[in-house]
Amino acid sequence: MSTLVIKDLKVAVTENEQERLILKGVNLTLKTGETHAIMGPNGTGKSTLSETIMGNPAYRVVSGSVQLDGVNLLDQTIDQRARAGLFLAMQYPAEIKGVTNIEFLRAAINARRADDDQQPVTEFLAQLDRNLALLNMSDSMAERYLNEGFSGGEKKRNEILQLLMIQPKFAILDEIDSGLDIDALQVVAKGVNSLKGPDFGTLMITHYQRLLNYIVPDYVHVMMDGRIVKTGGPELASTLEAEGYAGLRDELGLTVALTDDDVK
């Protein structure tokens, strides 16, 4: 079993030469075998948290720690963290012309193996075929340039394909449900659920209860203004869907301004 521990994490971003604190002390512990969901209003810091865990240099850690099985991840580069077992399905995956999906996947898998133990092509292709089938993706998708010209939904599916091929210890899925039609949502959920087991943990970021019907979380966390303000079971998501964030804020007695305060 592996554990990812985030302690009192404070993170700032720089915009127009002005530094602004986004995460104001996040505490979160994930274990393999568990599924967590984070919900929260727009601009609250959810993507900031996932990018920081992964090591995106645009996010500056002011204080706090991120440890995987007792090892400090904050000193490590992005690729080291990935090889240590982290995977981030991005909200906006990059497009890379000229690099095929297959080439990219092989490079990613082989980066985790010793030079004299690279994955045999036949084994790779068998694994690829299995996962393409699971995600209802065509062979031609794998031969296309990485995300180039992919529709929003295809990109999301492609993120899950990578997840299935790489088999990390922890997957952070940032709004994997956005832009997916109902059928695609089920396919993506099927992919993630196929990895569920004692050696795999998930942190989902979502705005909608619907995803959680398909990938059922053990814990739901609510983030507001750079902090996790409440943690509960799956029922917390339903409450939020019914009452909105303003209700929760008032219940907790927080003084946070929400972008859409005047909706309810």
Binding site: N56, I78, D79, A82, A94, I96, G98, A107, A111
Partner: protein, 422 residues
């Protein structure tokens, strides 16, 4: 060497070689022209202090055969001035194809050499370095494909600059594809030995009416070789010339790859990839001039610059008056992987006719940070991620190459070029 000494040395060499009078006359004229012509102009490259004009008197230099067989499978294989291997398929010989070194072609096919050497593609008076080569050239290859002959298998040429000993390298080659013939040539240029060398290489390609020539030049000279490369093609009516050029040199290089679309309806494609690393400068001028009506020129170039290297692509499209219905298109793109890298991709269009189509695109860019972050986030180490991005960038040209074998060869050459020094 002053002009008088140069002239004496050239005359002496020509006499020793029992060269015909016309060739001596050509060389003498070259010496005269050399003295007064300026260096060829490469925009944005200052190479005046390169030792390209360091040479000794021409002699018949002999290079020892390397112990390893570096010319396996080659139709023509030479080291320095010495031709080590020469072979043609029987079928080609029976059809009258001639492949030899320039030195013997002068003796055995003097009339052909006289008709084409510095007459059709290159001419004396173009520039100083071309003149110097004409004065001092000692060898090269000579390929003649008679009318209507279609060669299926490529003619493969491997030439080594010999840096194991100090010697001149003034190489001059001719490819003549007579009417309605078809030939593929692959010329590989490398350095043998770890010494310093200066290399001058001229290739003249003449594609006569309805002929098709596919010419691949894979140049991989070593870091200690400073080179001037000049490949020039001229096309008759409805002829085609496809250049596929890879500048994988590790040393300083200026290269001129020019094509004259003389015949109506003739067509040239130029595909170039180049990589510059270390402290190296490579400057590549690619020009296609449309003289004939309904002629088509297409240039695509992609280059990668690492470290503190400089790579300059000057793409010149020239449509002259009278070339009605001509088309000239070019795309030059450079990718820089270091903040110290320097790159220029300049399209220069000179259009002197109205009813023509001309287009160009150029860019000099850096690796997209977001792309890098994405690759890294999947555990791919930075050097591998960079190579993937580079490969992707060059794919625009590589995937367009006609032969799968060349594509594979170039991919591994690129891989080696990028891993050797990093």
């Amino acid at each position: 060497m002053d002009q008088t000494n140069l002239l004496t040395a050239v005359r002496q060499y020509s006499r020793q070689q029992h060269e015909p009078a016309w060739l001596l006359a050509l060389r003498e004229k070259a010496v005269a022209v050399y003295a007064r012509l300026p260096l060829p102009k490469f925009e944005k490259i200052n190479y005046a202090d390169w030792p390209l004009e360091d040479f000794t008197r021409p002699t018949e230099q002999v290079s020892a055969e390397p112990s390893a067989d570096l010319g396996a499978g080659q139709q023509f294989y030479s080291v320095g001035d010495t031709t080590i291997q020469l072979s043609l398929p029987t079928e080609a010989i029976e059809q009258g194809v001639i492949l030899s070194d320039l030195r013997s072609a002068i003796q055995t096919h003097g009339d052909l050499v006289q008709r084409y050497l510095m007459q059709k593609a290159l001419q004396l008076g173009d520039d100083k370095l071309t003149a110097l080569n004409t004065a001092l050239m000692t060898n090269g290859f000579f390929l003649y494909v008679p009318a209507n002959v279609v060669l299926k298998a490529p003619i493969e040429i491997t030439q080594y600059v010999d840096s194991r000993q100090a010697q001149n390298f003034f190489n001059h080659s001719l490819v003549i594809a007579a009417e309605n013939s078809r030939v593929q040539v692959i010329q590989r240029l490398k350095t043998l030995g770890a010494g310093a060398a200066i290399a001058h290489l001229l290739v003249e390609v003449i594609a006569e009416a309805d002929a098709t020539v596919d010419f691949a030049g894979i140049d991989a000279l070593s870091a200690n070789t400073t080179a001037y490369l000049n490949r020039r093609g001229v096309l008759g009516p409805d002829a085609r010339l496809n250049w596929e050029l890879a500048e994988m040199n590790a040393g300083r290089v200026v290269a001129d790859f020019d094509t004259e679309l003389k015949g109506r309806g003739s067509e040239a494609q130029v595909k170039t990839i180049a990589i510059a690393t270390g402290q190296q400068t490579q400057g590549i001028d690619t020009r296609v001039t449309n003289y004939g009506q309904k002629t088509t020129a297409n240039i695509i170039q992609r280059g990668i610059i690492l470290d503190a290297a400089a790579l300059i692509f000057n793409g010149i499209g020239h449509i002259v008056k009278g070339a009605h219905g001509a088309k000239a298109d070019q795309e030059n793109r450079l990718l820089m992987l270091s903040s110290k890298a320097r790159g220029d991709a300049d399209p220069i269009l000179l259009i002197d006719e109205n009813d023509v189509e001309a287009g160009h695109a150029a860019s000099v860019g850096r690796v997209d940070e977001q792309q890098m972050t994405y690759l890294l986030s999947r555990g791919i180490p930075k050097p591998v991620a960079e190579r993937l991005v580079i490969r992707g960038f060059l794919a625009g040209v590589i995937t367009e190459l006609r032969s799968q074998r060349l594509r594979t060869e170039l991919n591994s050459l690129i891989e080696r070029r990028l891993t050797d020094e990093h």
